[in-house]
């Protein structure tokens, strides 16, 4: 079995500038935030973020001027902390080109990519200005029901990164609880990376294979990153660290530097 374990820094370096990246999780929950920070540390530029409900991740990348495009359905910090301020500034300044979606329209695009077809139908959307804004097409039911359905083009991110609770060295990844859209994302992307809380043996995963969201053969590399979803939550291992999110939201370069230095991976790992 292949050993696909790399350091977080190696993983971030293997994602080129300009890549489109789908991040797992939703808002402050189950997202590969350590990898997002590592992209900032390596000075990434020109990234595209693809995620139905990004928040801290896209805000951090916008704050570091690392993201220039996004496909997103709703963007906020959540947890009573309001909108994502750096993301908002980047869109208002024209630094970040947004393709505004309705969450499921991103997923429908990913389902198309996962299924190997060029587009996919999605319910609803009629009456929304998003239809014309995004030049989405509609098709009449070719089987004659008379129903008109919106179709969206396939979305295949260059890279998917998810944060798992457990992984083995082969990249088999176990997720507890709800994986938001991680399943669809990992089937749609061209390259798949996993960060995981804990390294476990393949034999352990084989005891309950239904908990393995992602088989290792689909995975390019895995980094073991304890508290890798910080300052977000990872069910059932830890809750959101709201004090850290609030500290992150303090304006200024010094606050950002303090936040990056306070991250678990900055304190635990030697910088490879």
């Amino acid at each position: 079995m292949a050993n696909k374990i790399v350091s977080l820094a190696e993983m971030a370096r293997s994602i080129p500038d300009g890549s489109s990246i789908g991040f797992g999780g939703s808002f402050l929950h189950r997202a590969p935030f350590a990898l997002v920070r590592e992209l900032v540390r390596r000075g990434a530029r020109g990234l595209e973020v693809i995620k139905s409900s990004p928040g801290y991740d896209i805000d951090l990348l916008a704050r570091a001027h690392a993201v220039s495009r996004a496909k997103a359905g709703i963007v906020a910090i959540e947890g009573g902390l309001g909108l994502a301020p750096s993301y908002r500034r980047a869109v208002e300044d024209g630094e970040l080109q947004l393709e505004e979606h309705s969450c499921m329209t991103i997923v429908a695009g990913m389902r198309a990519a996962a299924a190997g077809v060029p587009f996919a139908p999605v319910a609803g959307v009629f009456g929304s200005d998003l239809l014309a804004l995004n030049h989405w097409k509609t098709v009449a039911d070719p089987y004659g029901s008379g129903k008109e359905t919106v179709v969206v083009p396939a979305i295949s991110p260059d890279v998917a990164v998810i944060h798992a609770n457990e992984a083995d060295a082969n990249g088999d990844a176990r997720v507890y609880g709800s994986p938001p859209w991680d399943r669809e994302l990992t089937r749609a992307a061209k390259r798949v990376f996993v960060t995981a809380e804990r390294l476990v043996s393949s034999a352990q995963l084989a005891q309950q294979p239904e908990l393995t969201l992602l088989p290792g053969f689909m995975v390019e590399a895995v980094a073991i990153v304890p508290r890798g979803a910080w300052p977000g939550s990872l069910h059932p291992d830890y809750d959101v660290d709201y004090a850290a999110v609030e500290a992150y939201l303090e304006p200024g370069d010094a606050a950002l530097a303090r936040h990056l230095a306070a991250a678990p991976e900055a304190r635990v790992f030697s910088r490879a």
Partner: protein, 248 residues
């Protein structure tokens, strides 16, 4: 405390939108509907099913999480009803009541959660509508909430239509508007808070509406009051008011 009263009015009147045996759902960035579903379970005798975006089925946490996406909404669930499940449920028309938020709402219950100013060159970039554009046309009923009730939030013409569809109810801190979601009709004023009146609601609303059927909102029942107090989540609920959300 006026702000607490605003938040409580929103939660109680969102809870009152839930009908017996319905399947209802609260999404991301939706603390007020999450609180409304917990309140309804404790204060009303009828049964209903509550799905959350966190993936839980009928999870009514004792202590509300700060985020409506929080895995606290999985605690004790018998099943994970994940994103794909509840979206597909909604789009095949089986999610009876969906709660959605907005920055601006018009008289037909359409919403703008996208931008203030020109979409391409926004004065204010708003969060976006989440799944609203997909869900609103297919849900049997949608209940909206808006925590600021002014002429710039309840408007005759939206600057951008993020979502349109089967809105049945709009709750603000001062009033409850209703419309028949199956018809292409405008909101009417269903009820107003007992410290205000229809003329005051007209003055603070940017769209015109019929108020002939309006009555004072029924006072909070003892059981609704007790359920709110038991939640002990006043800080959390006040966080959803415009002072904090950035949606002003």
């Amino acid at each position: 405390m006026p702000e607490r009263r605003d938040a409580e009015y929103l939660v109680v009147n969102l809870a009152r939108a839930i009908r017996p045996n319905e399947v209802t759902f609260s999404g991301v960035n939706s603390v007020l509907p999450m609180a409304a579903c917990v309140l309804a379970r404790r204060a009303y005798d009828f049964d209903f099913t509550y799905l959350s975006v966190a993936g839980g089925v009928d999870v009514f946490p004792k202590k509300l999480p700060r985020s409506s996406t929080d895995p606290a909404l999985l605690a004790g669930t018998a099943a994970i009803f994940s994103n794909a499940d509840f979206y597909d449920l909604a789009t095949r028309g089986k999610l009876d009541l969906i709660f959605l938020g907005a920055a601006q709402v018009d008289a037909f219950g359409r919403t703008n959660v996208s931008a203030i100013g020109d979409w391409a060159h926004p004065k204010v970039r708003l969060p976006g509508g989440g799944g609203a554009a997909v869900m609103m046309p297919v849900a049997p009923r949608v209940a909206l909430w808006r925590s600021e009730h002014t002429t710039r939030t309840l408007v005759e013409k939206l600057e951008f239509i993020t979502a349109a569809g089967k809105t049945a109810v709009l709750v603000t801190p001062y009033a409850v508007f209703a419309r028949d979601p199956a018809k292409n009709e405008r909101f009417h004023l269903a009820s107003y808070r007992d410290d205000t009146d229809p003329a005051a609601i007209v003055a603070r609303t940017g769209f015109s509406f019929e108020a002939a059927r309006a009555v004072p909102t029924a006072p909070m029942t003892a059981r609704e009051r007790a359920a709110l107090d038991a939640m002990d989540a006043f800080d959390l609920l006040e966080n959803e008011l415009p002072r904090v959300t950035g949606l002003r």
